[in-house]
């Protein structure tokens, strides 16, 4: 199946400074929910604006259903754009806001009324149709903006950090609502965010960006479990880093040295190479004494204990560096370890992510 929306070799630079986006390629399938994820200034919003035609790329092409739309003006692209600050027209009622796109298409009267009504039902705002935008809460305003973008049956739904102006609880509610509506309508969606949990929970595929370039494109599980670069591993979730040297390697695994300690990883590596090993804090455990099995065990000393309710965070010293261990809490055990305790730090070799240094 050919891609529905395709970006080829997109680059955008201003003046003679460093490019905001460079060599950006992406193929989006029909009905897919794609998230552009990255820190602020990584160029994700620039890409979204290029798709909408609000910005022209310096080089590269935008294809929609195989058709080159790079030079097509915004108002002829039929893109549903939802802005971070809602961007509802303050001088129009919610109903007139939603009907605006239909009006621009020459749709009026009963048909416009019916479609506007359906869109407002979809976001549960029918009771507020006569209100002005500023009479609505932030969450309601963003739902109205979503209805306004959906009512035109857009080719692609473009969401630019739509949740970041909302408080935490509302953010989760609206997150689920957007995903639900997107699935139900089967609408191809590009979502821009700097929030990894939004990206992981909502997306079919995530595009991780950094410094105007794509770091990795993959589904949420692969992004989390098999990050392609140290940046992705560090940006999504928390990670411990161990600088290590490959001592020996065989087909089934390799032995690495970090400080005075050694540990093993799955898969073959080239002996003598310097690598960075990354392990997620919640994939490591602490024990009083070394238990058997094929787990890696390092001698460690507790430096700090932080109780966070759902987890206990231990800062431990091991292999000449400081590592973070996240343990689940239980009413029976309480704080299992105290500052200064000597413990064994264990993890499964399969939980080690290796990157060349």
């Amino acid at each position: 199946m050919p891609p529905y929306l395709e970006l080829k070799g997109i680059a955008k630079s201003y003046g003679d400074g460093a490019p905001t986006v460079a060599g950006f390629d992406l193929a989006v399938m029909s009905g897919e929910f794609i998230t552009l994820l990255g820190p602020s200034g990584c160029g994700k919003t620039t890409v979204l604006r290029i798709i909408a035609g609000l910005l022209a790329p310096t080089t590269g092409t935008v294809l929609l259903k195989g058709e080159d739309i790079t030079a097509r003006p915004t108002h002829l692209r039929n893109m549903g754009f939802v802005f971070q600050n809602y961007a509802l027209f303050p001088h129009l009622s919610i109903e007139r806001n939603v009907a605006f796109g239909l009006e621009m298409r020459g749709i009026s009267g009963a048909k416009a009324h019916e479609r506007t009504g359906r869109a407002l039902d979809l976001v549960r705002l029918s009771a507020f149709r006569g209100r002005r935008p500023k009479e609505l809460s932030g969450g309601q305003q963003q739902r109205a903006a979503l209805a306004r973008a959906l009512v035109i049956e857009p080719a692609v739904l473009l969401l630019d950090e739509p949740l970041s102006n909302l408080d935490a609880k509302l953010r989760e509610e609206l997150r689920d609502e957007i995903r639900e509506i997107q699935r139900r309508l089967g609408i191809t969606t590009i979502f821009v965010t700097h929030d990894q949990s939004e990206a992981l929970t909502m997306s079919d595929r995530i595009v991780v960006m950094e410094g105007g370039r794509v770091e990795q494109v993959a589904n949420p599980v692969d992004i989390y479990e098999r990050p392609a670069t140290p940046f992705v591993a560090g940006f999504i979730g928390r990670t411990n880093r161990l600088q290590a040297i490959v001592r020996a390697s065989a087909a089934e695994g390799a032995t690495l040295a970090a400080g005075d300690e050694t540990f093993t990883v799955r898969g073959a590596l080239r002996a003598g190479h310097a690598v960075t090993a990354m392990i997620r804090p919640h994939r490591m455990r602490l024990a009083k004494t070394a238990s058997g099995g094929d787990a890696n065990v390092l001698a460690a000393r507790i430096r700090k204990v932080t109780f966070a309710g759902e987890t206990i965070e231990y800062d431990v010293e091991a292999a000449g560096t400081t590592l973070l261990v996240e343990s689940p809490t239980s009413p029976v055990e309480g704080l299992r370890f105290a500052e200064g305790d000597n413990v064994s730090l264990c993890w499964d070799p399969a939980d080690t992510m290796i990157f060349p240094r």
Binding site: A52, H75, G80, N85
Partner: protein, 279 residues
């Protein structure tokens, strides 16, 4: 103590307003009810005769109408000429923005008498514009650009532009460029986005600018006298004539009061607009 502070601080300004504005206005209102005899003899009375004379005489009616037309025309032309400049100044992120803003308002630093005289050197039969037109072969004889209503309009538009630009920029607060982008994404061509979003959202600035300009044009004296060449009669020039040439002070006072009433009506209308936006 606290609640007296405001009153105490406001006293000097209030006293000044009462002394220099309110009392003379009351005196003027009283004067407009007196009668005048030939030769400027003032006869104390309580009659609305001067108002009747002004409003009943077709000559004066035409002056009131012409002043009103001049106000409307100049305000409309000033708005059209200023809007793009104001929008540009409001939106630009150029490091020259401050310089451009100062340049835009700088004509206000020069007396309107001086500005009007400079317009005379431009609009004169041998002025810059006519010479250029003749040199280009577009006309054979100079066209009359001053000593008529056209000259007054040209001069007033330029004189009022800085005020209009300042008022427009003050009213552009709600103008978020994202809103125009939203309109364009929803299928509005740039001109439609401008008409449906930019213009309505800048209405506070437009109305404020038009109010200030209209009132200033209605009461303008220097430009109509100089660029009108003594042939363009408006309210202010008529007041001047009645007071200092005909020596009919009551009539001059009556015309002044009529002008003040027109301004009051404009302010009341603006008040209603302003309240609607605040709601």
């Amino acid at each position: 103590m606290r609640r007296w502070t405001g009153a105490v601080l406001a006293t000097p300004a209030t006293a000044l307003m009462v002394l220099t504005f309110l009392l003379p206005m009351l005196w003027l209102a009283r004067l407009s009810l007196d009668r005048s005899e030939d030769g400027g003899v003032l006869v104390p009375a309580l009659s609305a005769g001067e108002y009747g004379q002004f409003l009943g005489d077709p000559f004066y009616q035409r002056i009131l109408l012409r002043t009103f037309e001049l106000g409307v025309t100049v305000t409309a032309l000033t708005l059209v000429a200023s809007y793009a400049i104001a929008l540009f100044l409001f939106r630009t992120r150029s490091r020259w923005r401050a310089v451009l803003a100062v340049l835009t308002v700088s004509p206000m630093l020069i007396s309107s008498v001086v500005r009007t005289y400079s317009w005379m050197t431009i609009l004169d039969d041998h002025g810059l514009v006519n010479q250029a037109l003749i040199w280009l072969g577009l006309v054979h004889r100079p066209i009359a650009l001053m000593d008529n209503l056209l000259g007054v309009e040209i001069g007033l538009v330029q004189i009022e532009m800085p005020v209009m630009i300042l008022a427009l920029m003050a009213g552009f607060a709600r103008l978020d460029p994202t809103l125009e982008e939203a309109a364009r994404c929803l299928g509005a061509a740039p001109w439609r986005a401008f008409l449906r979003v930019t213009i309505p959202l800048s209405a506070p600035g437009i109305v404020l600018g038009c109010l200030v300009t209209f009132v200033q044009v209605m009461s303008s004296f220097v430009t109509p006298s100089l660029l009108g060449g003594g042939r363009v009669y408006v309210m202010a020039t008529t007041i001047y004539q009645e007071a200092l040439e005909t020596l009919n002070w009551p009539l001059a006072a009556a015309i002044s009061i009529i002008l003040v009433v027109v301004f009051g009506a404009c302010l009341a209308a603006y008040e209603r607009f302003a309240r609607r936006w605040a709601a």
